[in-house]
């Protein structure tokens, strides 16, 4: 059978690998913006082909699909969903694993996602305000000195999110200045997007351990995968600008420390509550739009002190690097799962994963994520054999391969390394070994985060989860989960939430 994959990052490399491992002897075709050497090799090996082109151009993708006439198309990243690629393909009778434009709204518009949560009174709905312009936001920022997250109201590759904690009155002035500055930056940068009404979102700042809950869905049921914890900040110790993700861990459904461990970041109850939230989100968006959701959906979540399991953002696709944690340990045949989604009989599929710990670590060129201009164009050397000998699996990310030349960095992450073991720490150690075998031939620096998956980091996350749990379970006992009770002197008791 023929499958067409859209996208060219490490996530798509992992999807490609899993598809080609199918018993159904898949011929893999792929459209990507950069030539990912890993995906190209899989295409060649299976008798398929790799095409370079604009994956967000429905005409182009449809034309290619017509010429290939695949059994189905798998869309990897979110932007093609926002550009209606799945809609265009299905209109032509080509089944598609990928959220259609209308239902992908839960990712594309962060404002719509929150609106939906409030409209349907879903648990985990954070307090928020949306603004069309900077001027609209000014009085609000001026009046309230609060800890907030400033976000572009549209998904923009994770760019532009800034959390500003504002507790210390003695540092308020500097923080307010930056809030203004950043709000303006977001609105300016959102001018490039004309597909959303609101430009800026201000949300209450929450804290707690983050995790991504990825699920397959055919619109009738939701099949969850193991929860994965990504590490968004560029540098060790959760420092520095937010990136697309520097590495991620998973073990069991609920982020256990080891396969045979009782210790975990989430309780099973919290895992199930998170699944329910994603189910309700799918249900709500389908009801709202009348459109079916076929594909992958993910809740990028946080265990907060306000609500317990809480949605920070929704993904209308796999996370990257989170896909690399789950796909390689998927026991089912991915093609079977895709067909079940297309036929809307996913309820008959028993989704199973190997009981192993997985740790993914990304290698990035210095300059990523803020100065991609500096990070781009460096020739990469990866000793693939040496990495394989270590027992580490590697996934090419943002690189551009040219015949007879080393691949060059595309400005984002270069490659992701996957360690699989019986504990997170063991898998982390394993993945760590790969970094001795990758370099940039012009001596430009590569960086990665050694601290991902270490016991020290894990213990810290578990402690954080416990603190958040103590507070939200207290609130649940008091019957004030998600509510904010504020005594305003002279006005009285205000209840929000």
């Amino acid at each position: 059978m023929k499958v067409l994959l859209v996208g060219n990052a490490a996530r798509e490399h992992a999807i490609a690998e899993t598809l080609t491992l199918s018993q159904r002897s898949v011929r893999l075709f792929c459209i990507g913006e950069l030539a990912n050497p890993g995906i190209i090799r899989l295409c060649q090996k299976t008798g398929g082909e790799f095409f370079r082109g604009d994956i967000n151009d429905p005409e182009f993708v449809a034309k290619k699909a017509d010429s290939i006439s695949p059994d189905f198309v798998f869309v990897g990243p979110e932007e093609p969903n926002f550009h209606g690629i799945p809609d265009t393909l299905e209109d032509r009778g080509i089944p598609c694993i990928g959220a259609k434009r209308a239902v992908a709204e839960i990712e594309m518009s962060k404002a719509s996602m929150r609106d939906l949560q409030w409209e349907y009174r879903m648990p985990g709905r954070l307090w928020y305000k949306k603004f069309r312009s900077f001027e609209e936001a000014v009085p609000y920022i001026k009046e309230y000195a609060e800890s907030i997250a400033l976000k572009p109201a549209r998904q923009a590759g994770g760019k532009g999110v800034k959390v500003i904690e504002d507790f210390q009155v003695y540092l308020q002035e500097e923080k307010r200045e930056l809030k203004f500055d950043h709000a303006k930056t977001i609105v300016d940068f959102m001018r490039a997007y004309d597909d959303v009404e609101y430009k800026l979102l201000i949300e209450e700042r929450v804290w707690g351990p983050e995790y991504t809950l990825q699920c397959f869905t055919d619109g009738r049921c939701v099949k969850p995968m193991p929860a994965v914890q990504d590490n968004k900040h560029s540098f060790e110790g959760d420092l520095g600008p937010e990136s697309g993700g520097m590495g991620s861990i998973a073990c069991g459904p609920n982020l256990k420390v080891a396969v045979d461990s009782e210790e975990s970041i989430l309780t099973m109850e919290e895992y199930r509550a998170s699944v329910e939230i994603v189910e309700r989100m799918i249900d709500a968006i389908q009801r709202k739009t009348g459109e079916r959701y076929h594909g992958v959906v993910a809740g990028q979540m946080m265990l907060t002190s306000v609500w317990g399991p809480t949605i920070i953002e929704m993904y209308s696709r796999f996370g990257d690097p989170e896909a690399v944690n789950v796909l390689p340990i998927l026991k089912n045949d991915l093609v079977d799962v895709c067909e079940a989604i297309i036929d809307e009989r996913l309820n008959t599929v028993k989704l199973e994963f190997e009981d192993r710990a997985t740790v993914v670590k990304a290698a990035a060129p210095e300059g990523y994520p803020e100065r991609r201009d500096l990070a781009k164009g460096h020739p990469v050397f990866l000793d693939e054999e040496a990495v394989s000998r270590l027992g580490v699996r590697y996934y090419w990310a943002s690189v551009d391969a040219r015949p007879g030349e080393p691949p060059r960095t595309g400005g984002s992450r270069i490659a992701e390394f996957l360690g699989i073991g019986s504990s997170i720490a063991e898998a982390s150690d394993l993945a760590e070994g790969a970094f001795a075998h990758i370099e940039l031939k012009d001596a430009w620096r590569i960086f990665h985060r050694k601290d991902i998956g270490t016991m020290k980091t894990l213990e810290r996350r578990i402690r954080l989860a416990r603190l958040a749990r103590d507070i939200y379970t207290y609130k649940a006992r008091k019957g004030v989960l998600g509510k904010r009770l504020i005594w305003i002197p002279g006005k009285g008791l205000m209840e929000a939430g």
């Binding site: 800034k162 003695y170 110790g237 420092l239 402690r463």
Partner: protein
């Protein structure tokens, strides 16, 4: 001691000076003689002065300081204005540099006895840097030549910040953060608590001995600065007196150690008494746990007048006594007619203690049993903690019985060296106990 601080915002839009000032305020207990802050945006801007942070670095001046990176310090050492740290190296590779502890020698540099300590450091540094192509690599190789017990923060004019510790780890240094936007390096974690995020899991972590942290606009990374360092010599006095009880030093909570000291002090030297009183501020946690273990009540014995002064680190006898007398007005009702266990953290010369005992007896205390939360201080500190000449140290020359008579107490007991190590919970050979033993780690 000295309190050092560096703040590095990855987002250039931050105005960081005020964060620096409040961070230094949190380190004020490490030095109250002078303070300095250097910020870097497009260029270095400096502010330094004598006295407390709030006086030396005024709010008005803070408004003028631009930049998203800063280094600063508070010091207990009296120095002329031009030597108040951060020291500035001018020339082709300008940098700001601040250090807690002491560089004892610099490999390949002949110490010029005519020059003072600071001038020697600057001379060696400037000579070294002249021969280097790259400022970052240059400073790294310079620091690798330095021997002693120190932590440092340096800021290069291209926006690179370095922070590191000597291989023995004599002086503390911790890494924290302000949200996700900025890294904070500081002598103590309490600085991060004051200006950093309220993430309920302390975001601060230890910078390891011999480790160097480098912050550039594009990266934050850890490097080894010294080769082959496995021996540790953490300053034990940090735990007894120098650090704030809300800090973690080498990842160990200071408060926990201070409580353990009180417990062990009771085990080693119980007393027949009616009430336990701690000498503010440092000895208060000792007193709490001594009282808890003994079953005796603990009470507030003193009220202070004026600012909170760390009397023991004041440079002159006049300043120390003034500090004690203003800080420690005895509350008559707490002591009148009672047998008192009086707990203090350390005894240097004994005259401030004598003063306290006298004041308490004058207010009607019946008996006073002095318990000290550290062993006798007998020797100087080569690593920059101010200890008077040996002939001034009462613990070096007199027995506990004699000291009791001199200060006017009914009994007197020092914590044993073994007791101190037990309270800290680290093996003896990973601590610097030089001020108690006269035996110093080899640098």
């Amino acid at each position: 001691m000295t309190g050092i601080l560096g703040i590095y915002a990855f987002d250039e839009r931050w105005r960081i000076a005020s964060f620096g000032r409040y961070g230094l305020l949190a380190l004020q207990h490490r030095g109250q003689e002078n303070a300095g802050l250097v910020t870097l945006g497009k260029a270095f801007q400096e502010c330094r002065g004598q006295g407390w942070v709030e006086d030396a670095i005024s709010e008005e001046r803070i408004r003028e300081l631009r930049g998203h990176i800063c280094v600063g310090q508070v010091s207990p050492n009296e120095v002329p204005e031009e030597y108040i740290q951060p020291l500035m190296l001018r020339g082709s590779k300008p940098l700001a540099f601040t250090l807690d502890g002491r560089i004892l020698r610099i490999e390949g540099y002949r110490w010029n006895e005519e020059l003072g300590y600071e001038d020697n450091i600057l001379k060696a540094l400037s000579e070294h840097m002249e021969g280097e192509k790259d400022a970052l690599e240059g400073l790294k190789s310079f620091m690798a030549r330095c021997r002693g017990g120190f932590s440092f923060v340096a800021l290069l004019s291209d926006g690179t910040m370095l922070a590191g510790r000597d291989p023995l780890g004599v002086k503390p240094l911790a890494l924290g953060k302000i949200g996700f936007d900025a890294a904070v390096v500081a002598s103590e974690t309490c600085a991060t608590d004051t200006i950093g995020e309220r993430m309920p899991v302390s975001p601060a972590e230890n910078i390891e001995p011999g480790e160097l942290r480098v912050f550039t606009p594009l990266s934050a990374r850890s490097e080894g600065l010294f080769k082959g360092c496995s021996r540790r010599a953490f300053c034990a006095f940090e735990y007894v007196y120098l650090a704030r009880p809300d800090s973690y030093v080498n990842d160990i909570p200071v408060y926990g150690i201070r409580k353990a000291i009180g417990e062990i002090l009771f085990r080693e030297a119980p007393a027949e008494a009616d009430v336990v009183i701690g000498v503010p501020e440092t000895a208060i946690p000792f007193a709490y746990s001594y009282a808890y273990k003994s079953g005796l009540p603990v009470e507030k014995g003193f009220e202070q007048t004026g600012r909170r002064v760390r009397s023991a680190i004041k440079p002159t006898q006049f300043e120390r006594l003034k500090g004690v007398q203003l800080k420690l007005n005895v509350i008559s009702e707490a002591v009148k007619g009672r047998r008192i266990v009086l707990i203090d953290d350390s005894v240097v010369r004994g005259n401030t203690l004598a003063n306290i005992v006298y004041l308490m007896k004058e207010k009607g205390a019946k008996e006073i049993h002095v318990r000290i939360g550290s062993p006798p201080i007998t020797s100087p500190c080569p690593f920059g903690t101010e200890v008077p000449p040996e002939d001034e140290l009462i613990g070096r020359h007199l027995s506990e019985e004699r000291i009791a008579e001199v200060v006017g107490a009914d009994s007197f007991h020092y914590l044993t060296l073994g007791g101190l190590c037990e309270a800290i919970g680290l093996p003896r050979d990973s601590l610097c106990l030089g001020c108690f033993t006269g035996i110093y780690p080899e640098v």
